[in-house]
């Protein structure tokens, strides 16, 4: 088959708008057929495009996992860190070089199991980080073990008789910890997701976006929930958009309703603003603006 077979004529100069944002020399990526991670990347790229941000100043930080591989495919300054530690790494990166727009892109297990403490503390500090959590409700990279997001009764490789632990409501936890912006979408909601991503790129402070995404290989199939496409159809049919819904009422289950939307959007001074305010109040003129990034020159 030819590389670009098509019955309609395609302008010579036409190209896929995501390509300039990706390390095309690393394609094909490792993600499975019907995996939703790539779809979220499309939305992220569209958000970057519309934000008109200077991409040289956008850094992306991931932990470990299938989602954690996003950093490696994004043609940005990109950091594939250790499992669960994307947020503290991003914290250092942001504080050392505040001009950077720092995006944390990782999985539900990475951010809420091993990384849960860092997430709530970064939210408490209102650190200026934009966190995208691809929630496939499973530890995918390691072969389908339970995550703190896996809904009750689902079967996983470490819960062969069905998960019985209650799962986290990620949006409620993020809000309680202090996040300034909290939203949830699914990979079906590509336009809304892209818009949300655009909003957080324009907002200061700790922002959190949860994206439900299919993992046909290790979650849906093992639970007889079909492939990626069937999952997308389920998302379409089960989702209710309720912007501003109380996050406490937005818990998820295996096959029930999925409340999506923007739940929280509040203005709080971010970490660096708080620091400047306190330091100038107590130190006055003696306070010196951090010039961290220059120090090593």
């Amino acid at each position: 088959m030819s590389e670009m077979e098509c019955v309609m004529e395609i302008p010579a100069e036409a190209y896929n708008p995501v390509e300039p944002f990706l390390r095309m020399d690393r394609m094909p990526h490792i993600w499975c057929p019907g995996c939703g991670i790539g779809t979220t990347v499309n939305c992220f790229v569209r958000a970057l495009l519309s934000s008109k941000a200077n991409l040289d100043n956008v850094a992306i930080v991931s932990g470990i996992g299938c989602t954690g591989r996003v950093a490696g495919y994004a043609r940005l300054d990109s950091f594939h860190t250790t499992h669960g530690r994307a947020i503290p790494f991003a914290t250092g990166l942001k504080l050392a070089n505040p001009k950077l727009q720092v995006v944390v892109y990782s999985g539900d297990g990475d951010l809420f199991a091993i990384g849960g403490n860092h997430l709530i503390h970064a939210a408490r500090r209102n650190m200026d980080l934009k966190v995208v959590c691809v929630n496939n409700m499973i530890y995918a990279m390691t072969g389908g073990q339970s995550a703190p997001t896996t809904p009750g009764a689902a079967v996983t490789s470490t819960a062969p008789y069905g998960v019985f632990e209650p799962s986290f409501n990620l949006v409620a936890l993020a809000e309680a910890a202090g996040a300034s912006y909290v939203a949830r979408w699914t990979t079906y909601h590509v336009t809304q997701l892209a818009r949300s991503m655009g909003e957080v790129l324009a907002k200061k402070g700790f922002c959190f976006i949860e994206v439900l995404s299919p993992c046909p290989t290790l979650y849906q199939r093992r639970n007889k929930m079909g492939d990626g496409l069937e999952t997308m159809k389920y998302y379409k049919q089960a989702s209710k958009i309720r912007n501003g819904a109380p996050t406490g009422e937005c818990g998820l289950s295996k096959s029930g309703e999925i409340v999506v939307g923007k739940f929280v959007d509040r203005d709080r001074p971010d970490y660096l603003e708080l620091m400047r305010a306190q330091m100038t109040e107590t130190l006055g003129a003696r306070f010196a603006e951090p010039e961290v990034a220059e120090c090593s020159l």
């Binding site: 490792i30 993600w31 499975c32 057929p33 299938c66 591989r69 990279m141 390691t142 072969g143 290989t217």
Partner: protein, 201 residues
């Protein structure tokens, strides 16, 4: 003196490649008094995509665990075919899922056997048993292990509820293999001509 037979089975995730290798290894190690070491190849941590398993059969304990030059190569996908045939031992046996693999060139001195394992499995109403069909076919055309040992291994490798189905699958593949062998024997050679390949795919 130690005799070693190296086998590689490769395809994509979901085809049950690992189980088929396990059945062969189990047959040799548990039901035929020999030694077998099975290893798998993993992609980046544990993705879907391609999948491959190796078995070494021997009459003595096996020391070096990896397959370097398979005597038998079983491929269930075009990708696997392209990737692994080059390492097949001269005079080795190549077995293909003939609906999924197009054999473009016959490697010199190699014997090639094709089986529509997926189709045969579908005839049994359960596509998933294509791997066991393949094991049956493997048994018939390689004659490396007794059919009985293999059947025992199949039964031993699947949940009781699925034993009947899988044994049927094994037999179907085995019989298909026997017929093919005979047919080839009749037309005088075990080398298959590209023509036949075309005909079958």
């Amino acid at each position: 003196m130690q005799s070693l037979t190296e086998i590689r089975i490769a395809g994509f995730g979901g085809q049950g490649v690992i189980l088929s290798a396990a059945i062969i290894g189990r047959a040799a190690a548990l039901f035929q008094g020999g030694y077998a070491t099975m290893t798998q190849s993993f992609g980046p941590e544990a993705r879907g995509g391609s999948s491959s398993a190796q078995v070494i059969l021997s009459n003595e304990p096996i020391l070096y665990p990896y397959v370097t030059q398979p005597d038998v190569l079983v491929v269930l996908s075009q990708e696997a075919y392209t990737r692994f045939t080059p390492e097949l031992k001269r005079g080795g046996i190549l077995i293909t899922e003939q609906d999924l693999v197009r054999v473009d060139r016959i490697p010199p001195g190699e014997r090639v056997f094709g089986v529509p394992a997926t189709r045969l499995a579908e005839e049994l109403g359960r596509k998933v048993v294509l791997n066991v069909v393949m094991v049956g076919f493997f048994g018939a055309v390689t004659k490396l292990l007794d059919a009985e040992a293999l059947r025992k291994a199949v039964a031993d490798s699947v949940p009781p509820a699925l034993q009947k189905l899988n044994l049927e699958a094994f037999d179907k593949g085995y019989e298909y293999g026997i017929c093919l062998i005979n047919r080839l024997a009749e037309n005088g050679s075990l080398e298959i001509s590209p023509a036949i390949l075309e005909a079958e795919s």
